[in-house]
Amino acid sequence: MLVKKLFSKQETLVAITLFGLCLVIGWINPVFWTAGNWFDLARSATVTGIFAIGVLIVLISGGIDVSFTAIAVFAMYTTTVLLKDAQYTGGMWLFFVIAALIGLGLGLINAFFIAQFRLPTLIVTLGTQSMFRGFLLFVIGSKIIRDIPPGMADYSKAFLFTVTDDRGVTVGLHSAVLWLVAVAILAFVILRYTMLGRSIYALGGSREAAERAGFNITRTQVFIYAFVGVLAGIAGMIYGGLNRQANAQDIVGQELDVIAATVLGGASIMGGRGSVIGTLLGVMLVVVMSNSLVLMGIPATWQRVVVGVIIIIGTAVPALRTLRRQRRSVNVEPEMLSPVEGRT
């Protein structure tokens, strides 16, 4: 029973697929199992992972947000410009604080339209995505800043620890991965153990029921979009730091990949379902897939195709399973022929 329940979960399926994929790739190219490759994977997963946690929370609540990439690049670029103009020479922490505050502000704009006017979340965030990006390019700047402040430049080398392999190459695990860990734990605790988190699930399950139960929907929605804004600001800043530059044209365009990874991890696009673990697994699957296609000698141009196929299969399997379960429940009720009085 327990095993059956475990196997009916999308998380388990994704985990098994991921594990199988690792074995296959490692068998084709042993480089896969080196510390250097895994540090690379962790680095690639960090920004997508933080974005995906934000997307997860929005999806659970029954909404969809496509503006987080615009918020991320807006926060990252603006922060860099501000601190460069201020000739700031201190550490990276201030970059994060400012980027998070900008993210918060932009997230609140989303929250305002969504909670106050009850507009469809996709429409609002499509609009704000264009708005934030346009404002950034037109008002703040569009040139690539390569001459970044020293604190940000140093961040690209902020390794947690380094390892020197047998060929004498030194590789390190970047500390940015701690952000992902912290965000994941925070989101997990909020979603699982706070009434605020449960109100997000409740809202995604049935808005009407949530209202009738007395949940403060406005507050929940403000939290959701503000939180996503903050996460986007931080993730954007990490992205800029890792790449040692601030490019106002970056990041926007990744939002659908992030949403797809989240859905792959078991979050329902219809709302009400999704977990942090599943989301992390979904992100890892996509990251391992696209990073490793190179290791397997598959041309980079094919990567998009393969990622697309994985996403379709990954989302089709649970959908088909739900369909089959529904058919079954129409045809054969489990209590059929058994006396009804057992229940009352």
């Binding site: 699930y201 399950g205 049935s206 029921a209 009738r212 139960a213 009720e333 209590e335 059929m336 229940r343």
Partner: protein, 496 residues
């Protein structure tokens, strides 16, 4: 004794339409008060006002001696008002345990969730009404009757002083209704008042201490239930006296049958079912939930597979492997749940009626012929007196009775030989119900074979000329309607 709730001179207007006018209601602790009225009479609005979901335009609300100026849902809940809505207001994505406990946790203004406590709270609530449910099951995947129990458990948890049940029995079988009434009486003994909203007259007469009848937003009667009987209730609800004629089949029992079912078996659902149906007959099939009645209907409609036995239609053996096969043989099926299975809720009356016969409406160049579409729609709106008679209105804007007419029209437009109706008047108010019965009888008189699946015994007694009783997948008794009384049949239905 101080009343728990008193409403005085409540009025409410929606977009120029008067939903309630000068309605007053007083509920004392431990009282079972029935709120009776047809669909659209203003019952739902009144409930929403008491729950704080809708604000009245005028009037006073006094709860526990406190005048409430702007009643919010959360205030109503804190004062002990619990509403069990018709759709139960549950969260389909959450577990049984969380659904039971979540409102309780919320009203205690908890910030953190203790899952041990959630399960314990749920377990205690289930113990109170003596039910057993799987705490970890996802609510979206459990049967309707269990959802109802979850909703009741949840309401009881909240130190409720007044529980409002909106059409609580619609989806329940006879036996489950008995169990529910038992629970309601237990609740009453605790000093909790119950406002029981219903349009099922027998229920009102059985359970109510007092009844408030509203029609078109106005109170027409506020009386002690002992002073009421069925005809009086009907009269006040509908504003007219309805005498329903019993259906008499005029055909020849020795004529060739329309449908012959021989030893039909679908393993796990029903076994060895045999019966005949003549053209123009209305055959009732009754039984409790799980008796196999719905599965039998679905098998005759090709929706579930048959393991053995034979179906003969007008002398020709037929094989029904799919719904398409059944439709091709002229079999129609009106499902139990018209909202999810019978209607395109967002689409117009016209689109719904024509959905089955679009192929027949192709004109020149294989395009749809607008004129004949319109004519066909108008014909059915007129024949079944669908109100309001505006073909472009979405199906969801109609009352239950009129929605059911649209479902009927959809099937009738394709001219079936055999029509299977599963719970044809579920959630339909009394006036509309009788009109639907008349329509069904008229169809039978025109030669259609009709099978009605229902556990509404008065309905079967009024519409059918023969009734089959199913139990655990088998037909256990067969009656000519003339040979049996309503009381007798009810007892046999519930008997183990």
């Amino acid at each position: 004794m101080q009343p728990f709730l008193s409403l005085a001179h409540i009025s409410k207007t929606y977009a120029g339409v008067r939903a309630l006018e000068d309605v007053s209601l007083t509920v004392y602790p431990g009282e079972i008060h029935c709120l009776v009225g047809e669909n659209g009479s203003g019952k739902s609005t009144l409930i929403k006002i008491i729950a704080g979901v809708v604000q009245p335009d005028a009037g006073q609300i006094v709860i526990n001696g406190k005048a409430m100026h702007h009643l919010h849902p959360i205030d109503a809940i804190r004062e002990g008002i619990q509403v069990i809505y018709q759709d139960f207001s549950l969260f389909p994505n959450l577990t049984v345990a969380e659904n039971i406990a979540i409102n309780h946790e919320l009203s205690r203004q908890k910030r953190w969730v203790n899952w041990q406590e959630v399960r314990e709270i749920a377990r205690q609530a289930m113990r109170k009404i003596n039910v057993q449910l799987d705490l970890d099951a996802t609510v979206g995947e459990i049967p309707v009757a269990d959802k109802q129990l979850v909703a009741i458990c949840r309401a009881l948890l909240q130190n409720a002083k007044l529980i409002i049940m909106d059409e609580a029995t619609t989806a329940l079988t006879e036996r489950e209704i008995r169990a529910l009434f038992e629970v309601i009486h237990n609740v009453q003994r605790e000093g909790v008042a119950v406002l029981f909203v219903s349009h099922k007259l027998d229920e009102v007469l059985e359970i109510a201490d007092k009844a408030l009848i509203i029609r078109n937003g106005r109170v027409v009667l506020d009386a002690d239930a002992r002073e009421l009987d069925r005809s009086k209730l009907t009269y006040y609800m509908t504003g007219r006296n309805i005498e329903e004629a019993i259906f008499e089949w005029q055909g020849d029992p020795n004529s060739p049958p329309l449908l012959q079912v021989r030893h039909l078996t679908s393993l796990g659902s029903f076994e060895d079912v045999s019966f005949d149906l003549h053209p123009g007959e209305i055959l009732g099939v009754t039984g409790l939930l799980g008796s196999g009645r719905t599965e039998l209907a679905l098998a005759l409609f090709g929706a579930i597979p048959i393991d053995s036995g034979e179906i003969v239609l007008e002398g020709q053996p037929v094989v029904l492997r799919s719904i398409q096969d059944a439709v091709a043989h002229g079999i129609g099926y009106v499902p139990e749940d018209r909202l999810t299975e019978g209607l395109f809720l967002e689409r117009s009356i016209s689109d719904n009626i024509l959905a089955r016969i679009l192929d027949a409406l192709k004109g020149a160049g294989r395009l749809l012929d607008r004129a004949s579409m319109k004519a066909t729609t108008q014909e059915w709106i007129a024949r079944l007196s669908i109100k309001p008679p505006h073909a472009e209105l979405p199906a969801k804007s109609l009352s239950g009775g009129n929605q059911q007419r649209v479902v009927l029209a959809k099937w009738l437009a394709s001219k079936p030989r055999l029509l299977i109706l599963n719970g044809p008047t579920m959630g339909v108010d009394v006036g509309s119900k009788m009109e639907l019965h008349e329509i069904i009888k008229q169809l039978a008189r025109e030669g259609l074979g009709v099978i009605i699946i229902s556990d509404d015994i008065p309905e079967l007694m009024q519409t059918c000329n023969r009734i089959l009783l199913m139990r655990r997948g088998r037909i256990v008794e067969r009656f000519e309607r003339r040979q049996i009384t309503e009381m007798d049949l009810t007892q046999r239905l519930v008997a183990v």
